[in-house]
Every structure is written in structure tokens, then in C-alpha cells.
Symmetry: C2
Subunit: 208 residues, 2 copies
DNA sequence: GTATCATATGACCAGTTGGTCATATGACCA
DNA sequence: TGGTCATATGACCAACTGGTCATATGATAC
């Protein structure tokens, strides 16, 4: 948690600091990210940073918490919208939500992808946010199997990890490929991803 | 490339050095990996390491090359065995080969997963090994679509990235979950993964 | 004026990094 | 024995790290 000193800062200065930190942590893993570069980019002194945050870790988790909160808000809204939908409908909505976030806030995705790169913070990250795949997809999958929507002979834990991995990969792909907003391409990506999970890659129908 | 000095070393000493380096780079990203720790673990002096390798990067890519070579050998054998098989048969064989490697040489998988963590080496990694997904799965997928085995309305590049991401995730899962050899569990994991790609998650048949 | 207070500063610290180099070792040969 | 050569060594270097702290600034209160 940042000190009150930080919250008292004029909004513009706060934004500058958050922005510089987001840039640094989205381009470097926790260890490789440099506080010196952050203070330089933010235009403040080293000492000031330590008036706002207890240490590097404090700053880092302040950013992660912001990202997690924003994501949570989106996902909760998605869940509310789909409270009575089938598994694949929920899945589709979640995929779309996640891809939308990856497109509009690419730095969030980059930082999140690097979360587990460094052992120095790995433990606390897992403890704080759990494996997001485990906590989110697993119960969804379990219920879908129970209700017969999803085939029953799957390793739930693995499949939920695969869902997460694919979402991350698609987000990365989207960032690197279509840096700028491109709704039609996003739609096509979403279709590839969703269809893979629902139906697999095999061509069906029309004899064969 | 290591200097001839390194190749002239007694096999046991070479192994000690490679082992220490594999350990360090499998537990830390390129930047975070420490040469001091490597020489300590290998029981040699700092100066000696620099008689064997030009610099940190040289040592790192020496390891990556070894891993890539070994993997290539396995995959080529797989490809040879399946030269006339269908797409899904080839896919199954490749998945099994990759999972087998992840189980027997977990450090290889860990190092490979960290390859793109640091921007300092990212560019050279991509240049040397290409995106492995692109170079391997893309032509396979393209041919499978042409021959009607795989549905045609997919983003080939994305799907090949998803295949790679899922293989990596499954490898990681296997390492963290069933550290020791466990053939039955491996078989089940393989089935989950393969079935996801062939048929998707949806339950089929028996009405509905 | 003066005292008080929160905030801002950057020189400074010990620790670590990747990398160097003068020197030492020791095997082989004359 | 003395000379040559490949190899081994670790003290040393500049650069950088996260983090500290005495000092400065400037607004507010009296």
C-alpha cells in the first residue's frame, strides 16, 4: 500500500508516476525493472519515491492491485450479464471481455504476463491473486461437466490452465499483430479461439 | 559458440559447468541469472568461465542451441515416423513427444519458457529459432485445411500459437504437478490436450 | 518575524552485476 | 634445467542496483 503522501499528491503527478512505473514493469520483469529509470521518467527524485512507497515490492503490488481490480470489475459485470447463460455462452463473454481489455490496455496484459517471471515475487503473487485460472475457470468447468454441457473425461485443472494460457496467448498475439484498434480482426481472433474450445479443429459435417 | 578451450575440457568438468548453467538459467530469466552463482556452483573461477565463453550471451545461446538441437532431433524422428499420417495423428505424436521431453528434461522446458522474458535477448532468440510455432505448426495446419481435415475458417497463425502455448502450459503443469515420472497421469494429460484440439470441450452424441 | 510541519532532494551506501587482467600453475619439450 | 604454452585464478573495475538520510524547501500558524 502506498503511504498517504502518495494519495495527497496532485492527480497529475500521481498519474505521471503510475504511468512511468507501468511502462517500466510492462517492459521488464520485476527484477529487471529499475527504480532509477522510473523516477527519471516520472521526473521525481529517488527520495520522493520512497516517501510514496515503502519499497520496490510495494510499488509493484500497488500496480498489480490496480490491474486486478479493474479486471475484476469487468469480469464481475460479465458474470452479472450472464448469470443464467450456458457454459459456452459465459466462456464466450469472458473471452471477449479479456480480449477487449488486452486491446485497450495492452500494458496491463504485458505486466500480468510477467507476474510469474521472477521468483522473488512469484510466491506473493500466487498468494494474492491465486492462479487466476484455478479460481475462475475451475468451478465453471466443474458445473458444466455436471450439467452435461462439457465432456466429462477431462482434467479440469489442466483445461482451466489451457483456457488461461490461450487467452494470454491471444492477447499477446493481438497486441503484437494489430497494435491499433481493429474490430474486424479482433472478431476473427475471437472466433478462432472460441471455436477451438467449443468444437476443436476438426472439420465436421458434409460426409467425410 | 564456446572457445576450443571449453571443448578441450575433461568431460566431467564440462558437464559440471553445463549443469550449473542449466540450473541457473532454468530458475532465473537471462538478466536475473548470475554468472557468479554459476561459477560458484560449478566450482570454477570467474576467469575460467571467460576462457570458455566470450560473455554471458555466448554461454546462454550455447545452452539454447543444445536444447534446440535435442528437441529438433526428437521432432524430426517423430516427423519421419509419421510421414504419411493425418494431421491429427501427427499432432498427437508431436504432443506426446513434447510432453515426454518436458517430463524427462524439465529444465529444458523451464529455460525455453523463459527465452522471451528479457528484451536483451528477445530479438536474437526470435531471429535464431524463429517463433517455433510459426515454423512448425503453420505449414502443417495449412496443409490440413487444404485437405479438408481441419476447418477452414481459422486464423492459422493464431491457432499455431495456441498450440504452442498449450503445449508449454501442459509441460509446466506436468512439471509442477507430477514432478516424478508418472506414466498414467501423463497419458491422461495428453488425452485432455489432444482431445481439446481435435474435438473441443463440448459433449457430443447421445442426443442433446 | 519565528517555529512547525509535510514534502522534496540527490549525494551517498553496501551489495551485486558482467567483465578484465596480471599473475600463477603445471604439463610438455629441448 | 629452463623455456614455452595453454589454462586457472581471484583481486579488481566501472556500472548499476535498491535503499537511506541529512538537508533544503515552502506553506501554514502564531
Amino acid at each position: 500500500m502506498p503511504f498517504p503522501t502518495f494519495e495527497n499528491l496532485p492527480e497529475e503527478k500521481k498519474k505521471r508516476i503510475i504511468d512511468a512505473a507501468m511502462d517500466e514493469f510492462s517492459e521488464n520483469s520485476y527484477n529487471a525493472a529499475s527504480l532509477n529509470r522510473i523516477v527519471k521518467a516520472a521526473g521525481i527524485s529517488k527520495g520522493s519515491l520512497y516517501q510514496y512507497f515503502a519499497d520496490k515490492r510495494d510499488l509493484y503490488f500497488f500496480l498489480l492491485d490496480r490491474i486486478a481490480q479493474e479486471k475484476l470489475k469487468l469480469v464481475q459485470k460479465t458474470a452479472r450479464d450472464a448469470s443464467h447463460a450456458s457454459f459456452f455462452e459465459v466462456l464466450g463473454l469472458v473471452l471477449q471481455t479479456a480480449l477487449e481489455l488486452a486491446r485497450t490496455k495492452p500494458r496491463y496484459a504485458l505486466i500480468a504476463n510477467r507476474m510469474l517471471d521472477d521468483r522473488q515475487v512469484e510466491e506473493e503473487v500466487l498468494q494474492r491473486y491465486g492462479s487466476s485460472s484455478d479460481s475462475f475457470f475451475q468451478p465453471l468447468l466443474a458445473r458444466a461437466i455436471q450439467q452435461g454441457e462439457v465432456k466429462g473425461d477431462l482434467d479440469i485443472e489442466l483445461v482451466s490452465k489451457l483456457l488461461t494460457a490461450c487467452m494470454l496467448a491471444t492477447g499477446e498475439y493481438m497486441i503484437e499483430k494489430h497494435g491499433e484498434y481493429n474490430e474486424r480482426e479482433a472478431e476473427k481472433l475471437f472466433h478462432s479461439l472460441f471455436d477451438l474450445f467449443e468444437n476443436g479443429l476438426k472439420r465436421r459435417g458434409s460426409g467425410e
